[in-house]
């Protein structure tokens, strides 16, 4: 039995500890917002937070998450109102939308650590997230907008 805290809820899983966290989330727990894109840490579709760090859940064993706090896109905010979610909607970033959960989860760690990210900071934080639809420009602007929203909110 592995004990995991996911989006503040506790789960006891009877599962092969080698299972990637991605598939534990999707197939066992039923949280499918975290996406599969490559399975080898190349695309970022599967990014979740593990004790606040952005990790690629496709190459993170579920055993590594035991006893830690996991946050997925479903738990990023209580009312879907994280500054990034607001900014994403405001700039209507998504095309197909498949990559966007991973994009937002990567950006969320950046914004928490860095209230005023520069273009360079955003570039390096987001380099691991692929979007075939080509929404990078809007993602970039949405992160800047979210930083803005975050600064205003904390004043």
């Amino acid at each position: 039995m592995l004990k995991l805290t996911i989006n503040k809820k506790v789960y006891n899983l009877d599962i092969d500890p080698e299972t990637p966290l991605l598939w534990a989330l999707r197939d066992v727990i039923g949280l499918v917002g975290t996406k599969y894109g490559c399975g080898m840490a190349q695309c970022g579709a599967c990014v979740v937070h593990l004790n606040g760090e952005a990790v690629r859940s496709c190459v993170t064993r579920v055993s590594r998450a035991a006893g830690k706090e996991v946050v997925t896109i479903e738990g990023l905010s209580d009312n879907n109102d994280h500054p990034l979610q607001q900014a994403w909607l405001e700039l209507d970033v998504s095309q197909c939308g498949y990559c966007q959960a991973g994009q937002i989860m990567s950006a969320a760690v950046l914004l928490r650590e860095n209230k005023n990210p520069t273009d360079k900071d955003i570039n390096s934080a987001m380099e691991g997230n692929i979007c075939r639809c080509g929404t990078y420009l809007r993602i970039h602007k949405a992160i800047q907008l979210a930083a803005d929203i975050q600064r205003k909110g904390s004043k």
Partner: protein
């Protein structure tokens, strides 16, 4: 349920009905014009399938539901199509609920996403449905209030009669309206009166996307669902000989390992039934990870398949095609293409006397361009769900054209079409890839065999190495100049594996007195499919690079050179069947010239390239500005001019053009799927290079030509000219022409071609 049926025009009709519990439903059916032959590049379904149906539901509490009839793969039809209904209905857009339509090939017809068709195809019928519903609601109100209908006005789903001060919601009249006949010959709004259309509206599924709700096929789940994966041969031209699954079956969660034949011998495939491998080695288990893991323990013997036969049916004809069995490699393919390029080819168009003109030329410029196979790499890999019983089948997942897959599914499952339900989920990208239904057929047969609900998932590796690629293309362009450097003849000869890309009637056809277009092709076992702007995505690279080089040789500005050619077409077009509209083509070039500040000294620090192209009924031009950054070329700015007629949802349309530009830069710089002994050399994103965040331009300025032309489509047209503009900008950077794609990442190496030397 009462129904009134009114024939609207020769090809469309509307129906109204009373909703259970009260309310009005307007549904419409419409037959789009029959088009060209149904080929992967001009997808037109047989007319009988082309009946399209949608609905508007107005409930007594004034809530309104609009159905989106077409599959959503990121082109935003879930929003733009219902907007067209709401426009005529005069409803409050913010309160409308949009639902994804079901698929029903007999009643609802071919709902397909492809060919930049969605908006174009639905533009009229959806507005008519909205207008008819409004008219009936007005009629009901006029009768109830005993006032002339002309005195009524509507705003945000409320009807007003100013003189008496009366007002009422649509919902309050909906049930009465449902008893009225559907009006004929609705007058639709003039563009100047648009309130919803032409105003940016947010993606109706935006909130679901950013909060991670289940939307995609891969998210589909039912109780007791199993997971299946297919182990396909490691190379094109190979097939399964034998396997040993002993170890696999011992792995936890594994239910079964078996083989299936997709098509029995002589099975008549439809145009989109392409599949790369016919013998399926299937592993079925409880969870994705268990199946992925257990697959690794399979011991499989693969052998060369040798030449095989495909049978194609449909339209009363039966055609057998031999698929060569050789294990192909990219270098050998290039050599073969060079060899074929020297042979006589099929003449596609000829104007004047090109042979003589070339003989008399003072100067001939000849250039050859090559491009590799490309993988679609939709971020959501291929997958589909199926539950098949003896009586019926339910399938759900990402698919561009359910109407094309259903007949094949019916044949494979031996079920009547009405017993097959296909649910269309949101797609994590499509780009043409999901018009090919092999993965539905596979999961249907698997589900039938295991007698349980099952979801087939392709891993990224399965997806990338499976095939259905953008074809490998080549083209040689020749231009003849006279002693005054005047263009007197133009010749293009294109080929490819397994098809050529030439559009013989496109620009510059019509602009040159002596013109020749030819094509040839080499059969292959590597499967191909439509890829965002099929064929055009190569032509716009090759032709637009060639025109740039030609302009330079003639001492002309590349935009002015194109404008001169177009002017000539306008005054005195050469030949017939010139596909493009000269004024619209000219329009985008002038617009991009103006908006990019072409020729202005402040832009001199950029290496600028331009390209313009017409495809899928719309026009797109880009100016691309490249700089060196960290020792690498970087596209810093892009200016785009687009003419797609009326733009339904401007901000979403801008997003789509930005996406096409970024996708285009990525594919032009890096896109390549190569082969060695039949095996794909790229299998995942560690060796298939995709454009990354930092490589997206800092600025993409999108300008739409403002006109009132009915919408002509947008998903594909902005993509092809990106390649040409990038190639031309790269040339400015280092004075080296780029003939082989991908431009930056191991371009195809042509062994013996000698004609790309500077001849002057």
């Amino acid at each position: 349920m009462e129904q009134t049926r009114t024939t609207h025009s020769r090809r469309s009709f509307l129906k109204s009905s009373l909703l259970a519990g009260g309310g009005l439903m307007i549904s419409f059916s419409w037959l789009p014009k029959a088009g060209q032959a149904n080929t992967p590049h001009h997808p037109v379904a047989p007319e009988a399938w082309n009946e399209l149906t949608g609905y508007v539901r107005i409930y007594p509490d004034n809530s309104i539901t609009i159905l989106n009839p077409n599959p959503e793969f990121g082109q935003n039809v879930m929003t733009s199509l219902p907007m067209m209904v709401a426009e005529e209905l005069e409803a409050d857009w913010k309160k409308i609920v949009v639902e994804m339509g079901p698929h029903d090939s007999t009643k609802l017809g071919a709902q397909f996403t492809g060919g930049s068709n969605s908006v174009r195809m639905y533009w009229r019928p959806l507005r008519e449905a909205g207008a008819a519903a409004r008219q009936m609601l007005l009629q009901a109100a006029a009768e109830s209030w005993s006032v002339p209908i002309e005195e009524l006005t509507t705003r945000a789903a409320i009807i007003y009669h100013e003189k008496t001060g009366k007002s009422g919601t649509y919902g309050s009249f909906a049930s009465k309206a449902a008893t009225l006949p559907v009006p004929k010959g609705m007058k639709l709004k003039a563009p100047k009166d648009f309130k919803v259309v032409r105003n940016s509206q947010k993606n109706v599924e935006g909130i679901k996307i950013v909060s991670g709700q289940p939307l995609f096929g891969i998210d589909y789940k039912v109780d007791g669902m199993l997971i299946a994966m297919i182990q396909h041969p490691p190379a094109f031209g190979m097939k399964l000989k034998s396997f040993d699954a002993t170890q696999t079956l011992k792995m936890p969660g594994i239910k079964d390992v078996f083989t299936l034949k997709l098509y029995e011998e002589g099975f008549e495939q439809g145009g989109f039934d392409t599949r790369s491998f016919n013998d399926l080695l299937v592993v079925v288990g409880n969870t994705t990870w268990e199946v992925m893991n257990a697959r690794k323990k399979l011991i499989v013997d693969w052998v060369p398949a040798g030449d095989t036969k495909d049978t194609f049916g449909g339209r009363g004809t039966k055609r057998e095609v031999t698929v060569p069995g050789a294990l192909e490699s990219t270098t050998a393919q290039l050599a073969k293409m060079e060899e074929y390029a020297q042979k006589p080819a099929q003449q596609l168009r000829k104007d004047g006397d090109p042979e003589t003109a070339f003989k008399n030329a003072a100067q001939i410029i000849e250039r050859t361009y090559n491009a590799p196979f490309l993988a679609h790499n939709c971020m959501e890999p291929m997958n589909f769900f199926a539950h098949v019983t003896a009586e019926k089948a339910l399938l759900a997942g990402p698919l561009q054209a359910p109407g094309w897959s259903e007949p094949t599914l019916a044949k494979l499952l031996q079920l009547p079409a009405e017993k097959i339900e296909i649910q269309m989920t949101r797609m994590g990208g499509g780009f043409g890839r999901r018009a090919y239904g092999h993965y539905l057929y596979e999961v249907a047969l698997i589900a039938k065999k295991v007698q349980a609900p099952v979801k087939l998932i392709y891993t990224r590796e399965d997806d990338m190495t499976y095939g259905i690629y953008r074809p490998m293309y080549t083209a040689t362009y020749r231009a003849a100049l006279d002693a005054n450097k005047k263009l007197i003849a133009f010749h293009v000869k294109g080929g490819g594996i397994p098809e050529h890309a030439i559009h013989a009637n496109r620009f510059p056809a019509g602009a040159v007195d002596n013109y020749l277009a030819e094509g040839w092709q080499i059969p292959s076992n590597i499967t191909i499919g439509a890829f965002r702007a099929p064929r055009s995505n190569f032509n716009a690279a090759a032709e637009q690079s060639f025109l740039d080089e030609l302009a330079e040789a003639m001492g002309k500005d590349p935009i002015d050179f194109r404008l001169e050619l177009l002017q000539k077409v306008k005054e005195k077009p050469v030949g017939r069947n010139n596909e493009y509209d000269v004024d619209r083509y000219t329009g985008i070039l002038k617009l991009v010239k103006e908006k990019s500040g072409w020729g202005k000294p402040e832009n001199n620090k950029y290496n600028r390239g331009v390209a313009a192209y017409f495809c899928h009924n719309s026009y797109a031009a880009h100016v691309v500005d490249i700089v060196m950054r960290n020792n690498r070329p970087y596209v810093e700015r892009v200016y785009s001019a687009i003419d797609c007629g009326i733009v339904i949802n401007p901000d979403a349309a801008t997003n789509m053009v930005e996406g096409a530009v970024i996708d285009g830069i990525g594919n032009a710089f890096y896109g390549k799927l190569s082969h060695k002994d039949g095996a794909a050399e790229q299998s995942n994103f560690h060796n298939y290079r995709m454009i990354r965040h930092s490589e997206a331009p800092a600025k993409i300025e999108v300008h739409f030509v403002q006109n009132d032309i009915d919408p002509t489509g947008l998903g594909e047209p902005p993509f092809p000219p990106v390649f040409g503009a990038v190639a031309n900008a790269l040339y400015k950077l280092n004075k080296k022409r780029h003939y082989n794609q991908p431009y930056l990442n191991n371009p195809l190496q042509s062994g013996t071609v000698t004609n790309n030397k500077k001849p002057f």
